[in-house]
């Protein structure tokens, strides 16, 4: 075995690298729909960070090239050879000039980097806040996001809708970040860096997305059992779409007599303790607001797509998608679940 692989570890390593390259080729072909790459910024805070990152990367890259080259040169040039003389090489103890040089040069680099960084910190953190902008309160829960729009009196969950920023209509969105229980962190890499949601410590951040579309992110501070499935979607709508969405959200819940049975089950079960549906007796605030459930693409903070089948499975046993979610299995009969789902699917 060893003979065939070649008897040096370096040879084996080369084989392994070649094999890995083959794996890579197939591995990177996998599906990639929801990108969340911090190097694809679409909003000012993310873009400022991106350019600062490029600057820092250039500086550190240059340092790396120089130092790695020196190291490689030293290791190769000064390796022990058979032709070396018997006696030890010249014993050098140090040199104050050289020491001084490689202390002063890094200091200069650090000063430059620090000043650039501080400028961006102040630019993002202390940006003037126009009064007309949209304000959204983000509340982190174990394990979902609550989005409240105080100006419009609406509340939704996990999928944030905000207007596009354009030159004609510069609508920046300000997020106030609160937490209902433990620490969370709001992170949508293509819009901005992350900011934590800490109980008793309100935070703020702002975004001004300049391209319509959906942006993906998730909780970035370990918050317990289902931290992994606390996903965020940000829908950046054109101003018209956004106004339309707001109008729809402000309406009371659809009251379709065809699904009255499901509504009755919903209202008489424990559902109402945690969920709100405007226009019904359901006024709970522990779980997401369901008034316009069907306007959302996902359920369970992005753990599953919002389809009737998934809704049934979720109500039957939330552990199917998200073991550890605080929603209990509702212990309804299959018939009852069917009726409740029929009711829920009318909530556009």
């Amino acid at each position: 075995m060893q003979r065939r692989l070649g008897n040096s570890p370096i040879r084996l390593c080369l084989y392994l690298i070649a094999g890995l390259l083959l794996v890579c080729r197939s591995a990177f072909a996998d599906s990639r729909i929801a990108s969340s790459n911090s190097f694809l910024p679409e909003s000012t805070p993310a873009r400022d960070v991106y350019y600062l990152a490029l600057f820092a990367l250039t500086v550190t890259g240059c340092i790396f090239v120089v130092v790695a080259a020196l190291l490689s040169y030293a290791v190769i040039k000064y390796r022990a050879r058979k032709t070396d003389p018997e006696h030890e090489p010249a014993q050098v103890y140090g040199s104050t000039q050289v020491e001084l040089a490689w202390t002063v040069i890094p200091i200069i680099i650090i000063v430059v980097l620090f000043l650039t960084t501080a400028r961006i910190i102040f630019a993002i953190q202390n940006a003037p806040q126009p009064k007309t902008d949209l304000k959204v309160t983000v509340i982190g829960h174990q394990f979902w996001w609550e989005f409240r729009y105080p100006e419009y009196g609406i509340a939704t969950a996990n999928e944030l809708h905000i207007p596009l920023w354009t030159k004609q209509d510069p609508d920046t969105t300000y997020l106030t970040l609160l937490s209902a229980d433990v620490d969370h962190s709001f992170w949508v890499p293509e819009l901005a860096g992350k900011t934590d949601l800490i109980p008793n410590h309100p935070n703020e951040m702002w975004i001004d997305p300049q391209k319509a579309g959906v942006y993906y992110g998730q909780c970035a501070q370990f918050c317990g059992l289902e931290h992994s499935l606390m996903l965020i979607r940000v829908y950046v709508d054109t101003p018209e779409q956004f106004q339309e969405w707001v109008k729809n959200q402000q309406k009371a819940a659809v009251d379709d007599p065809d699904v009255a049975a499901g509504r009755q089950i919903f209202e008489t079960q424990a559902c109402v303790n945690c969920h709100t549906i405007n226009g019904t007796t359901a006024k709970g605030t522990y779980g997401p607001d369901l008034t316009h459930l069907m306007s959302r693409g996902t359920i369970a903070a992005g753990a599953a797509t919002n389809t009737p089948e998934n809704l049934s499975a979720w109500i039957k046993d939330p552990d199917t998608f998200k073991p550890g979610a605080h929603m209990p299995a509702m212990q309804l009969t299959d018939e009852q679940i069917k009726q409740v789902v029929a009711y829920l699917t009318t909530l556009h």
């Binding site: 794996v23 820092a56 790396f64 501080a118 992110g217 501070q221 992005g302 550890g324």
Partner: protein, 562 residues
């Protein structure tokens, strides 16, 4: 100079039946107060947890190789990464480095033992008790809810996730109490090393002649005094919250989760330097020997180490750029953090300058040290990237951060620890570790390390956060995660080769003699393995390289040193 060997008195020399001899041998290890035996105990203990913590993370890596893989449940996953982090920092990292310190510091300064041999034994057994207490949480019975669960709140244990309300059961208490106990052990060892360094140096061993490893252990220990105690204090507060109904970190009762974050990182950041400074010390010993030159810029190295020690106390909030501090505080911590980069830069340049003009022998310890310098360079530079606060808003808690600190912990610290094993194993055991197995270990480890952690930077930039047990399939992280997992297993195999090498060479390794590497510090003047009293006669030194002076009487070091 004591260079002759003495018969080592050992209970094993007496003729006894196998069982009784074994018990006596075991007893001698339990009651020992010899710094060398305790050092070995520390190291064996730490290696045990290296394997345990490594196994934990391999399960994690299998889980993450595919989205929705479902190998382990989220609860088990959270326990695994919490235990991995806690184990590697407290039960593996610190004990193994303090183990080397314990073994080497008295030998290097020409002392016969530590300043307080019995305190030394107490410290070890406290540390060991803490470690086993932490793992007892796995089997602590299932009677009460949460009793049989390992801690699952992350090794940073951010409040209020740790409150009794949100995490009931006793697993968090196991975490806090075991680390308090282990912390007292660490404190004892730190005190001991400081006292040993100050009071026990042999004749002529002035502070400016101490080997750099001793200097670094000294700085580390001094730093430990003010590093481990804040954690103990914070954990006592946590236990007051959990058991006495206090409100330090409880937001409902007016407490402040922010306070925990501050307190944890006041411990947590200097802790990184507590781990990395001894590693620097190891490189400071090995690189000169195999370059056949003295360390370049001894004074600068000492100054940079002491500098890092002080500055490291002012940088903790760079772990907190995302918690919403003012722009001014953020800027301050950017600056203080980048200052550390200057000191680390000085060290890296000095190591390269030591090799420059030398005659580099590519023995296994030297290979590890060269890899260490290269990886420390990268770890330092990604550290600079993370210190750029706005960029940290993107990188923090992403896999980029994980990659960065594993570059420090594994790429720098563990790599140096491996070097230390290959370098000092002959001293402790009397036989060399096998060079062929050593080369396999090195190259496989290097390969696995770079596969895993180089890719990890990318997946972090692509938005993958840490501490997640699964991820949506449509994010495009899967391919990279498979490769990371493959790399992790290659490292696992390399570590197994290393462990096998340790066992095999114990009986079959090449006999080392007192000074197998033609080195220059005092420990090589003692027999291998050293007798309980280390040196037959108290050594007297006149320079930083006492053995060089003996080997080159015509050209001794003390002629050139100030």
């Amino acid at each position: 100079m004591a260079d002759q060997t003495f018969p080592v008195p050992s209970p094993l020399n007496t003729e006894r039946s196998g069982n009784a001899a074994f018990l006596e041998w075991l007893h001698s290890w339990v009651v020992t107060v010899d710094h060398k035996k305790l050092g070995i105990l520390y190291i064996v203990y730490a290696l045990l947890f290296l394997v345990v913590g490594g196994a934990e993370i391999l399960v994690v890596r299998i889980q993450l190789a595919f989205p929705w893989s479902g190998i382990v449940s989220p609860g088990v996953y959270n326990q695994l990464f919490t235990m991995h982090g806690t184990t590697m920092v407290f039960l593996m990292g610190m004990p193994i480095l303090f183990g080397f310190g314990n073994y080497m510091v008295p030998l290097m300064i020409g002392a016969r033992d530590m300043a307080f041999p019995r305190l030394n034994a107490l410290s070890f057994w406290l540390t060991a008790f803490g470690g086993f207490l932490l793992y007892f949480s796995y089997i602590g019975g299932f009677g009460l809810y949460g009793m049989g669960n390992a801690p699952d709140v992350g090794w940073f244990a951010y409040a209020p996730l740790t409150s009794k309300l949100i995490t009931p059961g006793h697993n968090t208490d196991y975490w806090a109490l075991s680390l308090i106990v282990a912390g007292f052990g660490t404190l004892g060892t730190a005190i001991n090393i400081v006292a040993t360094t100050i009071c026990m140096r042999c004749k002529g061993m002035t502070l400016s002649r101490m080997p750099l490893f001793v200097w670094l252990m000294f700085v580390t220990s001094a730093l430990t005094l003010v590093t481990i105690t804040p954690l103990t204090a914070a954990q006592i507060m946590l236990e007051i919250d959990r058991y006495l109904g206090g409100h330090f970190f409880d937001p409902v009762g007016g407490g402040s989760p922010m306070l925990w974050i501050h307190f944890f990182w006041i411990f947590g950041h200097p802790e990184v330097y507590v781990l990395v400074l001894p590693a620097f010390g190891i490189a400071n010993e090995i690189i000169p020997v195999f370059s056949r030159k003295p360390i370049f810029g001894y004074t600068a190295m000492v100054a940079a180490s002491v500098g890092i020690g002080f500055v490291s106390l002012t940088v903790w909030a760079h772990h907190m750029f995302t918690v919403g501090m003012s722009a001014a505080s953020n800027s301050f911590f950017v600056l203080s953090t980048e200052v550390v980069g200057i000191f680390t830069g000085i060290k890296i340049f000095n190591w390269i300058a030591t090799m420059w003009g030398g005659r580099i022998q590519f023995t296994t310890p030297m290979l590890f040290c060269i890899a260490f310098v290269f990886q420390m360079l990268i770890a330092g530079l990604t550290g600079i990237m993370l210190s750029v606060a706005p960029w940290d808003w993107q990188l923090h808690n992403s896999y980029f951060l994980i990659a960065h600190f594993h570059y420090v912990l594994l790429g720098a610290i563990v790599t140096c620890v491996f070097a230390a094993f290959y370098y000092w194993y002959p001293k402790a055991i009397g036989r060399k570790l096998d060079e062929r197995l050593g080369k396999w270990h090195f190259w496989l480890f290097l390969l696995g390390f770079h596969i895993t952690f180089d890719i990890m930077h990318w997946v972090g930039l692509d938005g993958m956060p840490r501490s997640i047990y699964t991820y949506p399939a449509d994010r495009g992280w899967q391919g990279m995660n498979i490769i990371i997992t493959i790399g992790a297993f290659i490292q696992g195999i390399a570590v197994l080769i290393f462990v096998w090498n340790m066992i095999w060479s114990r009986w079959h390794g090449e006999i080392a003699g007192n000074d197998p590497w033609d080195a220059w510090t005092l420990e090589w003047a003692a027999p291998s393995p050293p007798p309980p009293y280390n040196f037959a006669n108290d050594p007297v030194v006149r320079s930083r390289r006492p053995l060089w002076d003996i080997k080159h009487p015509n050209d001794p070091d003390w002629k050139y040193e100030p």
